[in-house]
């Protein structure tokens, strides 16, 4: 079973989000990394780039496939996880920790309310076929 920490918010595109003040930390879920397989390349935006909600901000590539990653909310990138350039496998081994992808300053923290809770996300993925 995929690991779904209770203290995070989730998108239907399989990103997770952790609120830290007015900043959101974003990555992909355990379910997503498991579906992708061994991650070999992560393409991320630069600090200062601005995104609307549900916009593609980069891509994750496994041996087998490419998957775009989407912003769960709107905002401005304030930090990216540079270490994934050399160690993309962190996305597999620690998707909610060392495998985080970007930190965004949120335009509207209220957008977080539209995301799924851990229970809702678990329900969502159990209905989805890989």
């Amino acid at each position: 079973m995929a690991n779904v920490p209770e203290d995070l918010q989730y998108s239907k595109d399989h990103e997770w989000l952790r609120v830290e003040g007015d900043v959101a930390v974003i990555g992909i879920t355990d379910y997503a990394q498991n579906s992708l397989g061994d991650v070999v390349y992560v393409e991320l935006p630069k600090s200062g780039e601005k995104f609307e909600a549900h916009e593609s901000f980069g891509s994750v590539e496994s041996v087998k496939a490419v998957s775009e990653i989407f912003t769960p909310i709107s905002g401005e990138v304030v930090q990216v996880n540079e270490s994934l350039a050399d160690e993309p496998e962190k996305v597999n081994t620690d998707p909610y920790g060392a495998g985080w992808m970007i930190r965004m300053r949120m335009n509207n923290p209220g957008e977080v309310d539209s995301l799924l809770s851990a229970v809702e996300y678990e329900e969502f993925t159990s209905g989805e076929t890989e």
């Binding site: 397989g37 061994d38 070999v40 390349y41 891509s59 590539e61 041996v63 087998k64 490419v66 890989e130």
Partner: protein
């Protein structure tokens, strides 16, 4: 995931029991990877041994006095060169010299051959082969469902399999086979494979598949840190790509000729008439306009199947297979390019989702195992 319409190999339950992730592969419910993951499966096959379920492959039994003459007329390689117990890589060709399928031709006797074809093309191949039977005295039988096929590949393959059989495996030469028993199960043991490693493919009755699967993994000390690993289709693909072996449906199909795909070596124009001979002879004489080449990217980025190849800014070709190469730790691919650019060192670019990624044409195979 409930997909009852997909075809299953006799090892379907075994794959699920071992935690494989299953995908629809050309209408077959197949393992794409096991819990170890594609990279580990790939590397273990290069360093020790990997076991693959390839029972989805099709088998067509050919018997009768005209078996050799018939198969020689519908395939491009020379079947008359085979001796009993030998196998041959070949192709079913169209009158245009393009490829209906690539296959292995096994010779059991002068009047008995076995054709091993790709899974998703088996129905098409069967129709093609049966409809091209002319006056020859041959009996054709699609026996695909009767067989399981397990491929044990890697430098440790011989040692592992030898513990389960009395057949003197080291005496079986590359592209030869013997009939004998493996763990008490009547089998065909063939020194062939699709990984670029030494190894064997074992054909046996479908209902013995799980027994053989479990016993081979056990003999390979599966579960120990350096033991044999079951491998999925993703590793099968990266292994064959590192070895630059063509994949039907990607690198070759009924729009590509054997010469374009660098398969002139299975094109025996002097063996007598066969379907496509005239077109292939003409192409050999006139030369091809495009050719399949290997490339590796020289900038960050991974080329994928179907992406365009740019040369001097122009869209002049297409990637047929593109992937990271886990053993070589490079990003590689095969692509068709106009023949004037099909030379080592040629700089090209790959259109990776709108970004032009630099690449260079390199010699193939990308990976070649060291012979002992």
């Amino acid at each position: 995931m409930d997909t009852p319409q997909l075809k299953q190999t006799p090892l379907n339950q075994a794959h699920r029991r071992m935690g494989a992730r299953m995908v629809d592969f050309g209408g077959w419910d197949m393992p794409v990877q096991y819990p170890a993951g594609t990279i580990e499966e790939h590397l273990r096959t290069r360093t020790h041994a990997g076991l693959f379920d390839v029972s989805h492959m099709g088998e067509i039994d050919v018997r009768g006095p005209d078996s050799i003459a018939f198969v020689n007329r519908i395939t491009s390689n020379d079947v008359t060169k085979l001796v009993d117990g030998q196998a041959q890589y070949s192709a079913l060709t169209t009158p245009e010299g393009t490829v209906i399928d690539d296959l292995l031709v096994y010779r059991f006797a002068q009047d008995r051959l076995l054709l091993v074809v790709n899974a998703s093309t088996t129905p098409k191949d069967w129709d093609w082969i049966t409809s091209h039977k002319a006056g020859e005295s041959v009996e054709l039988k699609n026996v695909s469902a009767d067989y399981c096929q397990l491929a044990l590949q890697g430098p440790g393959a011989l040692g592992i399999l030898q513990t389960l059989t009395d057949l003197p495996l080291s005496e079986i030469k590359y592209y030869h086979f013997r009939e004998g028993s493996v763990d008490g199960v009547p089998s065909i043991v063939s020194r062939t494979g699709y990984t670029g490693e030494d190894g064997f493919e074992v054909y046996a009755a479908a209902d013995k598949a799980e027994q053989l699967w479990d016993r081979i993994l056990e003999a390979g000390r599966h579960g120990e840190t350096d033991g044999a690993l079951p491998c999925g289709l993703a590793a099968r693909n990266t292994l064959r790509l590192e070895s630059a072996m063509a994949l039907y449906g990607n690198d070759i199909d009924d729009t590509t000729t054997l010469y374009e795909a660098n398969l002139g070596w299975i094109c025996k124009l002097n063996k007598g008439d066969f379907i496509g001979r005239e077109a292939l002879a003409r192409q050999k004489e006139e030369g091809v306009k495009r050719r399949l080449v290997g490339f590796e990217t020289t900038e960050r980025g991974i080329a994928r199947d179907h992406q365009d190849v740019l040369i001097n800014g122009e869209r002049l070709g297409q990637v047929t297979s593109g992937s990271p190469a886990p053993y070589l730790k490079k990003n590689i691919g095969l692509a068709y390019v106009p023949v004037e650019f099909a030379k080592e060192g040629q700089e090209i670019q790959i259109d990776v989702r709108g970004r032009a990624v630099g690449a260079q044409i390199v010699p193939t195979p990308f990976y070649k195992r060291k012979k002992e």
